[in-house]
């Protein structure tokens, strides 16, 4: 605790908010003066989505201490359900911003429900079961959306699995939204950078408030020592579920934001590789370190595109950068060096 009356935890939270707001302001200024390249402009919304993915996964991996290898599955649920909602409301006369908000809420809701269902059996167990089950979950979700046909007309939604029985049965003015392996096409691009920024801020506020609350302390107690936590009467499954479902819901809203930035989305996009990519953001940024996740996600989404000018070397450079960052982060000399600037930090405060 510092003497100023602000706890270290709030300090950390406000630093993170500050950095995100500053980054948003800078991007707005650069964009307004017309100095932004089309490439960067096109990447703003995906960056926001990946940042939300990273901080939400950090809640599961860093704060709760459970390994999830199927985070892209929640993103997929959010993306497909969010776009479905946005498409169904297309002719409703609602403004684009409102439809985007509804899409993100719907995405979050469905992903949260799915997260809850996955969590019921798995979070009761000890060990690495969550990693195994989420890995399978990601593949199952991919399979489901690859075989799902969903249409919408005046009578409501029509759904069929495996074969397309929907198109034939649609009434006048109806349209097929999810077309199996074709995914969703002809999406109206309504995602904006401002919406992405707001989503990041909401997620950060939720996460920091959760972590710094009684529930958050219980969650971290479970991470640090499950047996000790149980012995003092903390209901382990409940708190695990709380963190896991929150994390899944956030991934769902990120998915909706992401999908509404592209004209087409297919289930294969949200595969194991995407889950691992997000996990890399989290590990590189530091477990439990939200600001680190944000920076790592931003840097690693931009990096491959900036490296385009190196042509085929870019794969090599990308890998070298990853290795270097890991080495540097764990180098004692550099840790000491940066540690000097963090006054008031007690050794071992961060594990």
């Amino acid at each position: 605790m510092k003497k100023l009356g602000i706890s270290k935890a709030s300090q950390k939270a406000f630093t993170t908010y500050g950095v995100v707001i500053a980054a948003f302001a800078v991007m707005q200024i650069v964009g307004a003066t017309g100095n932004m390249s089309s490439m960067l402009k096109g990447m703003l919304v995906p960056i926001c989505a990946y940042v939300v993915m990273a901080v939400s996964l950090n809640l599961t991996v860093g704060v709760l201490g459970e390994l999830s290898l199927g985070h892209a599955g929640f993103m997929s649920v959010g993306a497909f359900m969010g776009v479905t909602a946005a498409s169904a409301l297309r002719d409703s006369g609602l403004s684009a911003g409102l439809r985007l908000a509804i899409a993100m809420v719907v995405g979050a809701l469905f992903a949260g429900i799915v997260g809850f269902l996955v969590g019921i059996p798995v979070l009761r167990l000890n060990g690495d079961y969550l990693a195994i089950v989420t890995l399978a979950f990601g593949e199952i979700i991919k399979s489901i959306f690859n075989n799902m046909y969903l249409g919408f007309d005046k009578k409501g939604f029509h759904i069929s699995l495996l074969t397309d029985k929907v198109s034939a049965g649609l009434g006048e003015g109806g349209k097929l939204i999810i077309g199996g392996p074709m995914g969703i096409g002809g999406i109206q691009k309504i995602a904006t950078f401002t919406a992405g920024f707001i989503l990041i801020m909401i997620c950060l506020v939720v996460i920091f408030n959760l972590v710094n609350s009684r529930a958050g302390r219980a969650i971290m107690a479970i991470r640090d020592n499950r047996i000790a936590a149980e012995s003092v009467g903390i209901p382990v499954t409940k708190y695990k579920m709380m963190a896991f479902v929150t994390s899944a819901a956030m991934a769902g809203s990120a998915g909706a934001l992401f999908a509404l930035n592209f004209s087409t989305i297919v289930a294969n996009k949200f595969d194991f590789n995407t889950s691992i990519l997000v996990l890399v953001f989290v590990v590189l940024g530091g477990l439990g370190n939200m600001l680190g996740s944000i920076i790592a996600a931003t840097a690693l989404v931009i990096l491959p595109e900036v490296l385009r000018q190196f042509r085929d070397y870019r794969m090599l450079v990308y890998a070298i950068v990853l290795i270097l960052v890991m080495l540097i982060r764990n180098n004692p000399a550099i840790k000491n060096f940066t540690g000097r600037f963090r006054t008031g930090k007690k050794g071992g405060a961060e594990k």
Binding site: P181, M182, G185, R308, R311, V321
Partner: protein, 395 residues
């Protein structure tokens, strides 16, 4: 530890410098400067861009397109008239990366586009070219979704549905079989598109579909179930709307169980004979529909195949031929419409739409090609059969 770290940093810096210094010569094929006609050449040099999978699982298609486009640009730049500056960007067969790649091309100043090589990325970039009013013609993005909701995205290849109904028609016309099995990939846009129209057309033509089995990405190495199903139900012909990698495994596994039906493929089958480590005798008798035949007697085709082989050491596939045609179609359209490079993208786009919908183009993949207002091409597929390890025209 420190020494290693320092060494790595130095190595990386060096690499960065080297890479920066080169300024991507391989991906940009600039026209040769000839002092006299510099002014006119400048005015007629268009920046042509495209995205495709240059790395990853689908790289074989992206590289074929890029290589062929380079050859075409090289030839055209040696002639009078319009010249091109070509740049290809990697999209790794991913819609998100394709949009990034497209934006990189836009920053470079692309005036006309060759869209994307594969279907899903092409749908994503088509929305972008539509919003930015940049004209695009894709050599190989064959899904109908590519053409939907825009007026300035054209195709050089058939749409997938066309291939499905054309295949059913062909099987019926030639009386190849009455009992047909289909094995298709149900998480793939290409396979699904062909399958849908094949299934829609088959009953009307008296084809009985006795077996209908699927496979997916990551589940595409063992086909014993699908083959057994087709065999037990007595299918005389197996229709394979897929790319040739899974098809090669199906041939091998069917032979292992002694099942020898007629095999029928579509344009994705083209290239199976050059697949590394593939025993070409397995593909003996396979029939496929494709618009391009590298063994054709046509002089232009032979010249193109010879040049491609000399430069890249392999026989060009249909994707390469389509890309080559795209560049030449651009040359014809730009020259006929009198476009100059100082015109805005919108003006070029409007002229190109007008030109492409009215002109007739003769290329490697067909004579007398025309385009309708949706951007779909009309040309006739050629039936081919594999005999003694070579593609032989059926008609």
């Amino acid at each position: 530890m420190k020494k290693i770290l320092a060494l790595m940093l130095v190595a990386m810096l060096a690499l960065t410098l080297v890479a920066c210094g080169e300024k991507t010569p391989a991906e940009t094929t600039a026209p040769a400067d000839d002092g006299a006609g510099e002014e006119t050449a400048q005015n007629l040099t268009f920046k042509l861009g495209g995205t495709g999978p240059l790395t990853g699982g689908a790289a074989i298609y992206g590289l074929a397109v890029k290589n062929a486009a380079e050859i075409a640009v090289e030839e055209i730049n040696a002639m009078d008239g319009v010249h091109f500056e070509l740049q290809y960007q990697d999209d790794a067969h991913d819609a998100e990366k394709a949009v990034n790649a497209y934006n990189a091309l836009k920053d470079w100043g692309m005036q006309i586009s060759m869209g994307s090589v594969t279907s899903t990325p092409c749908v994503a970039t088509a929305a972008e070219t539509y919003a930015d009013r940049i004209f695009a013609i894709t050599p190989s993005g064959s899904s109908t979704a590519v053409l939907e909701g825009n007026d300035n995205q054209f195709q050089m290849c058939f749409t997938d549905p066309n291939q499905g109904s054309a295949s059913a028609q062909y099987i019926h016309d030639k009386g190849l079989a009455s009992k047909v099995a289909v094995i298709w990939k149900n998480d793939d846009v290409y396979s699904k598109g062909i399958y849908d129209t094949f299934m829609a057309a088959a009953p009307g033509l008296g084809l009985e579909i006795v077996s209908d089995t699927t496979f997916q990405d990551g589940n595409d190495t063992n086909f014993s179930v699908q083959i057994a199903d087709a065999q037990s139900k007595g299918a005389e012909l197996v229709f394979l709307p897929m790319y040739y990698t899974p098809a090669s495994l199906i041939f091998a596994q069917a032979k292992a169980v002694g099942y020898e039906p007629k095999w029928f493929g579509v344009d994705g089958m083209y290239g199976i004979l050059t697949l590394e480590g593939f025993d070409t005798s397995l593909a003996e008798g396979v029939i496929l529909l494709t618009p391009f035949n590298a063994d054709s007697e046509d002089a232009r085709t032979q010249a193109f195949v010879a040049k491609y082989q000399e430069k890249f050491g392999e026989i060009p596939n249909q994707f390469a031929a389509d890309a080559y045609d795209c560049v030449y179609a651009y040359k014809q359209a730009l020259e006929d419409s009198g476009c100059t490079a100082d015109m805005s993208r919108e003006e070029i786009c409007a002229k190109m739409i007008e030109q492409f919908t009215t002109m007739t183009f003769d290329g490697l993949t067909g004579d007398g090609m025309t385009w309708d207002a949706t951007g779909a091409v009309t040309k006739s597929p050629k039936g081919m059969v594999i005999q003694n390890g070579a593609y032989v025209g059926l008609d």
